[in-house]
Symmetry: D4
């Protein structure tokens, strides 16, 4: 690095090039790890408050094992989403601490548990069919060190079911609401609490639900303020964001 600075001082390097080379070298040596198929970003914990999470879809078991090994070596906890039991069995060999969460389709490997929050994240589902997406949100939030309260099957067709659990929901610091079909529950919850509501549309429903589009549009157009939306079935995204808010 000294060479670069001296080349700059002597005028052999333009400032642009000096800055580029300094940045590159710094990252190359310490924070980025090139695995060929992937470029592991070990700086993410410092930069974003949480280490990189491995999105399992479209990756081979070999690639996931590679990534996990590199992260564990760097002393990061590992969360793999959208994964399968096959990957879990392959991982067991190098990471005996790995745990498979079947309903959430996720694997966690905990080297050192994250510091625990004192406040709670509520995960509320409209129906029994939304449980898997809610599980992904809950596993993510717990992996990142949050307390989670799960409140199931309180959709708007029987509004008293929701009223009955309102105290628990109001006690949380952030509320995740998971719903398919018309996706109306976040609006109703948003009108009853004074905490941010993260809405997760699910692909549950048939016909004109269009794989979650109806719920997504419903949530984006919520007449209640304080509601924002993540991608269809994206339990992970909701859990991650809830942790970020819960830790403010």
């Amino acid at each position: 690095m000294k060479d670069i600075l001296e080349a700059y001082k002597s005028g052999d390097l333009s400032l642009d090039d000096a800055l580029d080379q300094l940045g590159n070298q710094h990252y190359q040596e310490q924070l980025l790890q090139d695995l060929g198929h992937s470029t592991l970003d070990l700086d993410r914990h410092r930069r974003n408050g949480a280490a990189e999470v491995i999105y399992g879809e479209h990756k081979t078991p070999e690639q996931i094992v590679d990534l996990t090994r590199a992260m564990l070596t760097a002393e990061h906890n590992v969360l793999i989403t959208r994964t399968t039991a096959d990957v879990y069995h392959a991982l067991k060999v190098i990471a005996p601490e790995a745990k498979f969460h079947a309903d959430a389709r996720s694997i966690t490997c905990i080297k050192a548990p994250a510091t625990q929050t004192t406040s709670t994240i509520a995960v509320v589902t409209a129906g029994t069919s939304d449980l898997d997406v809610a599980a992904e949100a809950a596993v993510t939030a717990e992996f990142l060190g949050n307390k989670v309260a799960l409140i199931n099957d309180v959709g708007v067709a029987g509004i008293h079911r929701l009223m009955n659990r309102l105290a628990e929901i109001r006690a949380a610091r952030v509320v995740i609401v998971v719903a398919g079909m018309e996706g109306a529950l976040p609006s109703v919850v948003g009108g009853l609490v004074d905490k941010p509501v993260i809405a997760v549309p699910t692909s549950v429903g048939y016909g004109a639900a269009f794989g979650g589009v109806a719920a997504l549009l419903g949530m984006l157009n919520s007449c209640a303020s304080g509601v924002s939306v993540v991608n269809i079935d994206n339990g992970f995204g909701a859990g991650y964001l809830a942790n970020m808010i819960n830790r403010l």
Copy 2:
């Protein structure tokens, strides 16, 4: 007509042709009126329980005056939807009894009021912005002889507003629910009453409301049973159907 039957008997006409000619002649003489630009269907009251209603959009004032004159001559009450003050002024000349409902964009000409129902139709709106569509529903239902109860601005962002008016809604025989944005109100109402709910999506909302599509999809995917849907902003359709059910 006798000629036709005899020609059939004599074998000059096939049965098919005899039947066709009988039907044609019958309708031609009595029940259909050819105005050139339109074919007025004077049999609709007998067949459907209510006379033809004039859809004003894309019609010239002259065409509407023609149609109204013909219907009044046949002793039908006249309802014109999606119309304007200009048409109203043109109509006044031939139909002094004409009345303009500005918010509903409708004109009514009553020769003899329809027999009045004893039971009520509730028209419920989610927000103040849905009032015009609700007015079209109410004008239609009243034109057809129904009592109407209007309950405004009780959308799901403040669910207590709805709870507060629940008794009035439950007292009705049919419930029309008018909502834009995420269109969640019909689901909540549907979960609280034991009467058919007719959901009307409105084009209220911006961005991803897509001119009422979000509300339409929300209502089609309602998790509450007993809810059916009409076209976006179609207050007339809801009022007409509600009358039909209210008269069963």
Copy 3:
């Protein structure tokens, strides 16, 4: 409950909290049943005129058996839609009265038959390919105590087939019309009867039918009045609503 009222009287509880707690306790003890994965709403029969129906999709056989057992214990008849023969065999163990309707993909368990209506619901299909959706509508309506008349394969490509069965259709108090492809049959029927028409689009058709979207749009834009629409392939929703109207 007395405690709550006294705490309120003494000022230890605000009115809001007193009302919330009263409501919660009341429902908790009697009307809501928390099964962990689901919150069973035993009040629905009183509130909506029919008990909760179990939507089978995305539920495990264990969850369905749990829900059925709880409902039978509460002396409710049970209807399960979108289900399979596997679930049926699992249910047989605890509910020998269970009956599987293969074409309708539904299971019924009747403790005490519903009171029978005197008037009829007509279920009309455009083509042979729409039979399964029509069966779901018919099973639902019969489960709820209605007489059903099934009129098959009378779509608009051969309009005489419809004319031939018109008397049967006109004899009904409510008409369900099931059609795929261009979904034109409800408009034609709606123009010929003076009863409410519930239109059910099906996902039958290929190419630009887009899984029922063409039929859905056709029905929403019906030029005949008195037609409302339920979700694509939603035979259950149509049967449920028809019962509600038939019992007015």
Copy 4:
């Protein structure tokens, strides 16, 4: 041209280049006319059975006058669609025989009338609001020398209106059916005649008609055979194709 053939014979030109140059020169001299802004294709009458038609949208009056002058000079009849009264007045100066068809938004300039067909094209509309599109079809067909029978406002909500005019429709050699909203009329007509049906969806309707998409999908999914579809509001296309079929 001789030069080219000789250059080819002598080997100075490859066969490819010789063919290209021959073709270019031939067209350049006789059949294509470069107006700068447009390339007029004077060969179209020979090739397609009818001269080029001027699509007026997005063209300046000057461009349209240029094109018309060139076509009249070449002794072609001229049809301009999607045009305005302003263009008409500009054209009058150079083409006193120009005629403006306001409802069809078209201008015709007839040098020598096309030979008249003996068979008829039926143009059938579902409603009064479809008249303008039907007028474009009729003007086009008549410009090309066809007899046209116009049958208005016989949509499916009152099927007897259609039955009443069936004989006229069956007497035609080709049938154009113009409909908005659910676009069901072509299916019904298609099921009743043994002639090709050209379906024209119109942008009439509101809400979920989506500017003619509902009608377009309805027609593409027609359960009646013998129906094909042109673009939304494309009366010209239907009239042109009908002429082509009528002249076979």
Copy 5:
């Protein structure tokens, strides 16, 4: 039938009821055949110029055998589309003359061949991948008695391939053009011939082809006149319509 006419004469029946009963009885006895699951329309040959065709999708082999038996008994030729080898083997038992066209996924049973046309239908494909849809069109047209010329793989990426076969295409009386991807071939062909072009979009292509939507839109927006469109992959519809035009 005499009874009905006399009851009408005596005033016991209104004209409406008399006509309805006459029509019903006539059709019931002779032209409609109720198979329970289906209503066979034996009048279609007289009315539409060709007997009903059995759409095989969503039908059980038993239903198809029933329909075939009834049609053969009525001396109709039978065409079954969208079917499988399994159905073929089931049919062989009752109809030894049945023939399976694997690429067209169709079965034909010919009692008496249709009268042969003298003119030809050209079926043109853009690519090898469009062959199956083209086969369905060709089988249909041949079943109905037409001569068919098949011209394969002449899409616009190599326009000379098309030019090379132009004489064959121009010799036909009707042209069917089958294309996927951008669906441009019908426009180019339409600009080169003076015969009606029936465009068939196919679901060939990946990504933004959206299952044939790109080709469908391309064809609907064809800048060439004389082109109309049928549903995606609807080779049958194109073949049927081409026969209708070819027989004018």
Copy 6:
């Protein structure tokens, strides 16, 4: 209220009815105000942490004046969004403290300023064309008592512009990112900060931007974690949610 409780004690009222009536009366007397056209929800501040905000679209100036007067009487600050200068002038008469924010199309009337936050909300725009939506977010956040830092025109086409302002963005507690066209900026920002990012798609862009749909989809599919999305052009929703998070 005592009457109700006594009627319940005496058995004249069922528990259900007693609870309903208690709730109704409580809200009716104190927290809901029926203005005919609107039902003002004065409880929202207690329930949601901020008073109702008036959505100006589709409301007449008279309705807005009515609502404002009622809110000011109840000592609430008033924010009106999607409004015009005309409404502002009408309001001035009853609320001299009203202030019009032209770029944000908003009016504020402050009775008593909200308590000021110590932490900051960053509002970041991709381009100059996104300024109006950003202004709506900023006005909302400031109205609710937040410090706002505005960072303009730092979109991804010149990533150094963003890097240059990163320190300011990282200093905020919540980050709102406003972008049209491809909507990529929230992903890049989300990858560089450890605070929640609220993404606001704008309708800026032409052609395949589809009025903000491209940006909306881009944001929903963000590969960066910690990003959630509100409706297209919904600056208000983002500002409101940011306040909610900033006050945790």
Copy 7:
């Protein structure tokens, strides 16, 4: 800057912070210019080979004048797209060299003409209605120093028009093809040349053209290789990219 490097050497600054500050300061002082409403990126010419271009839509005349003044001061040529005559008149005051291209809706201010290319860019249009978009492409390419050959109105409905101009098109180094409706021209051109084809869909066409979507999809699905696509009506983007390729 020295201060930063020394603070880093002494350990007062981490490497990250030192790099950030170095980059910031460098850009702040020389390459980025903060105009409040905009952040002008004066480095773009060095980085991308061409200076920033001002997108005029959604910008006030004042903002555009500000941006132009700053760019002219920095000795950059200025191109403003999607602009109006009003902006032109405002600009004239500070930039007398400004020139307005009305059909292209663009303004250019040339301080020093770009070096001229020796090779040519062909801009080919399908129809006269595509001229404005083509003009935007041509103005952009010429502004950047390219020779442009314009070939108009050679769409696929008359393929000989294209063949006639093929030599001119083949003589270019890059080909821009502008087309609306079905957008088939780029496929045909792509099949006839050995140069990259940049396809520009236009919003020309009606009905199912959906504002250019049909053309866009057609071009994305081109069966010819060597074709890539820019946004609907994005003549500027095509001209800019063509220059970039032409200068390789």
Copy 8:
């Protein structure tokens, strides 16, 4: 051919027919090869700079073997895309030089390697899940004789990963950027380089990624200039176009 020219000279043939016959015969004899199912275009190398490429989807192994044999006989190199190991094994029999690229789903048969370029094509991926599409692009570019630099997993969620590889990307003459989800990488790369960027959207992502539509729209709306787009997952198209540009 002489016969044709003489027939023309003698007047037995019109010029049109002479030109047609000359063209046909020329192509028939030398450049087009009719394989029944396909029309092989052996002129494409001369016309487009590269021989026809076999698109494997929807083709039988027999058809592909036929096509390959014909191309090898004509001394063309062969590239087959979207193919399988089964086809590879069938091909081995006639083409021992065939090579299967499993990740790219492609087969190459090289008779004589293409001349090698001196400049490089960079293929950049946003994530590990985009590798297969990138492989198709790389195999295509290498087959056509280009040097390829592959830079993996440098998406915008960790922008430093991209900065770190910027020098390699800037060293290329053309840049292909492959990305799914929000598809933001091409915009960022486009803002950092002065070379043409070919953007390839992939179908990677779930929920509202809609099979690559989100990425496609993001890329079409790129705020960076110099970016054009090919179809979803169309690695081949990008590689082919990159070769075309790289050889200019």
